[in-house]
């Protein structure tokens, strides 16, 4: 470890790191992102390490635990550099063979390769896989190849050169100008122009100002912020240091939800390393500029992602928001000027400084510049994190990158914007995805969750799901949200459970508009969105629930029955044995049937029938 005493020192350090690495022949990247981690990738890291040690090969070969590679559907993922041979679904017992054949040797292990489902071809290299080839990876580029807890790896790839550039002569105003020219807008949901926010905060009066990073990521189904912070914390940190310089802040906070222990750990680790290297703390790289940084854990409340609630929580109070008439850039944390940006927003900053605002603005659409990371999940083949230029058509994301819908089912809609967003139906599949277009379609960008739904997803149930979420997460401070959203939830629950009456749909719509206009903060104001957008595009489904007491997608339990097809039933009796409720009756080798009274609609019988004899009516 060496402390940088001047800006020029950074280049020297980088050269030395690169020199040191020349001895390395290959690097084995093991994804330790949340997806792969849940499939046991930590054990892979240990197994590779042991294997290399026992062969005495740790000088020439190195195992590196990385952040999320992005193609989570294929996890656990192992990539061998420099060739970038991509192995999927790797198990610890395969480690020895990989080291033997593909690390020490140059052989390719066919069985571990990714198979393109459309052509049936095995693909060797990461960059040739369609999932990656169709993306534009800039912000997320290094997350899956970066050694998560090693600042030197970040520096070797040119890390902190943007900070060096800023500190070697750019005035704060010039930095702000560059960010304004880039057209970067907040990635946390609101899409507010980042440069403009920085400028207001710079101009605000006060000796002590703060920069903050919003890593609360409350939107269920979205995990790009966590993955960025976990996998490449220095990129986020570098963005924050540059922002602090531009704004004139002396202290920074990273607010991470406690459910992300790894993100907390890696962020703390990164801060410590940056301090050790003289990139944080007093006299950064020998200049007069200094910045202190802390990590704070949130308590798992969705509302704490909202800026004023987040700051209240940082002060040790209940995370309730306040009205927006006072801007946090002027009076935020402890009543002082505070600039809050999202994780991904901060991670964009070093790229903009290195390549220039004009370069950045050359990507994207007229009013949405650059790229956006989406978490592509739900009923889609290639689940994972994808980064595309703003304005990329939905079709490209769902089909070319996402590989379409599993089991040959039909695409129905994609939900974006989380609990504040809406559903985009199939007929808008060619919609270019940017801030404006999503809004026009009745949804919003949000933090970038894209939950794909197929024909077997009930849109009324989806609306109920989000309302239930919002009822639980409403902080209760204002009445429209506390009571109104609850009433909406009751109405929609009635629909799902077959109790709805004519006129309920109209009542629901009326409530939506009232809440939109009167709620205090963004949570309440946008709470009706998931309902309104599903009514807009799937009104017939609501009507089927209300008037026909029918759930077309066959999801709502009160409106369906499990039935055995006598033509297909062989009388094997498996369903009878498996049914936890004893609801299946029938003698061996004779057609079985289900007692509707006893059946709790758990679906276990259907899952077990090998003859496909059970269906839902």
């Amino acid at each position: 470890m060496e402390r940088l005493k001047s800006i020029q020192d950074l280049d020297g350090l980088r050269q030395r790191i690169i020199e040191k690495r020349k001895e390395l022949r290959k690097r084995i990247r093991v994804c330790t992102g949340t997806g792969c981690h849940s499939q046991g990738s930590r054990r892979l890291v240990d197994a590779f390490q042991q294997e290399l040690e026992s062969r005495g090969l740790t000088r020439e070969y190195m195992v590196i635990p990385t952040g999320c590679n992005g193609f989570c559907a294929c996890g656990p993922i192992v990539v061998i550099e420099p060739e970038e041979v991509f192995y999927q679904r790797v198990k610890p017992e395969q480690v020895r063979a990989i080291v033997e054949r593909s690390v020490v040797g140059d052989e390719i292990i066919e069985e571990l390769l990714y198979v393109d489902p459309t052509t049936g071809e095995r693909i060797v290299h990461e960059f040739e896989i369609p999932f990656f080839a169709k993306q534009k990876r800039l912000v997320f580029k290094d997350t899956g190849s970066n050694y998560v807890t090693d600042i030197e790896d970040y520096i070797a790839r040119g890390g902190y050169s943007a900070l060096a550039k800023v500190l070697s002569g750019m005035k704060p105003e010039e930095v702000i100008d560059e960010v304004k020219r880039s057209g970067l807008r907040g990635r946390g949901g609101g899409g507010f122009p980042t440069g403009v926010k920085w400028e207001s905060c710079r101009r605000a009066h006060g000796d002590i100002k703060y920069v903050m990073c919003n890593a609360d990521e409350g939107d269920p189904g979205a995990y790009m912020d966590r993955s960025l912070l976990e996998g490449n914390p220095h990129q986020v940190l570098e963005g924050m240091i540059i922002g602090a310089y531009a704004i004139g802040a002396v202290e920074g906070y990273i607010y991470v939800r406690f459910e992300y222990p790894m993100a907390v750990k890696n962020a703390e680790w990164a801060i410590k390393q940056a301090k050790d290297y003289g990139l944080l703390g007093e006299n950064i790289m020998g200049t007069p500029f200094g910045l202190d940084m802390h990590v704070n854990r949130g308590g798992g409340a969705f509302i704490c992602g909202e800026s004023t609630a987040l700051m209240a929580s940082l002060e040790g109070k209940v995370g309730e928001p306040r009205g927006k008439h006072i801007h946090t850039v002027e009076k935020g944390l402890w009543g002082r000027p505070s600039n809050l940006n999202n994780v991904e927003t901060w991670a964009n900053v070093p790229l903009i400084i290195n390549n220039g605002g004009d370069w950045y603005a050359s990507m994207g659409t007229e009013r949405s510049k650059g790229t956006k990371i989406f978490s592509l999940v739900g009923k889609i083949n290639n689940t994972g994190l994808v980064e595309v230029a703003m304005g990329t058509p939905l079709r490209t994301i769902i089909y070319d990158i996402g590989g379409g819908i599993p089991e040959g089912k039909r695409f129905k809609a994609v939900q974006t914007g989380g609990p504040s967003g809406g559903c985009i139906p199939e007929r808008l599949i060619d919609l270019p995805v940017d801030f404006e277009k999503l809004k026009e379609a009745g949804s919003m960008m949000g933090s970038g969750g894209m939950i794909v739904m197929d024909e077997a997803t009930c849109m009324v149930d989806v609306a109920r799901y989000f309302l239930n979420f919002l009822v639980e997460e409403s902080c209760g401070k204002c009445i429209p949200c506390r009571v109104g959203v609850k009433r909406m939830h009751e109405l929609v629950t009635d629909m799902c459970e077959g109790r709805a009456r004519p006129g309920d749909l109209e009542r629901l719509e009326e409530l939506c508009h009232a809440i939109q206009e009167t709620a205090l903060c963004g949570l309440g104001k946008s709470a009706p969105n998931p309902v309104l957008s599903t009514i807009q595009y799937f009104r017939d489904e609501y009507e089927a629930h209300i008037y026909d007491k029918r759930c077309p997608a066959k999801i709502c339990k009160a409106l369906i029955t499990y039935v055995i097809d006598p033509d297909k039933c062989t009388g094997c009796g498996l369903c009878r044995i498996k049914c936890p409720e004893g609801a299946v009756i029938g003698a061996k080798k004779e057609c079985h049937c289900i007692d509707e009274e006893l059946c709790v609609r758990c679906g276990i019988c259907m899952e077990n029938c090998k003859f496909g004899a059970i269906y839902i009516e």
Binding site: G316, G378, T383, C602, G603, I604
Partner: protein, 157 residues
Amino acid sequence: MERNLQAVDEIIDQWGAKPESLLQIMLDVNHHFNYLPRESIERISKRLRMPISQVYSVATFFKVFSLKPRGRTIVHVCTGTACHVRGAPKILDRVKQDLGLNPGETTEDMALTLETVNCVGACASAPVVVVGGETYSEMTPNKMAEIIKAIKAQKAA
């Protein structure tokens, strides 16, 4: 309780007895005991010189805190959006039925607590259940029933 309060004091000392440390202190205390014992709340209130009502308001506001002791193993069923559309409700129903618990409840022998979470970030392998820290992915009601059976058997042994 003497010994327990010592742990609380240590946590407070580590963060500093300042109001802005409240949430961080409470998170650590909650983690230490698996819940927030009443004595610990009183102690925090006294040492941070803030009304006990403020500590309680934070304790009831955030989902992470529990005012009741929780079971030795916690079953977390993810009910995030990705898990929901891939069938999380059926998984949750299964657990509720088999354990006879609603989310937030604990079995009488203090062995298990059932909780739901809004997303554990493993959406790619939805639906996901975390049992005692171990993640189970691509769940089905069937698989869930097996896991519960295994836990119950373990308990009996």
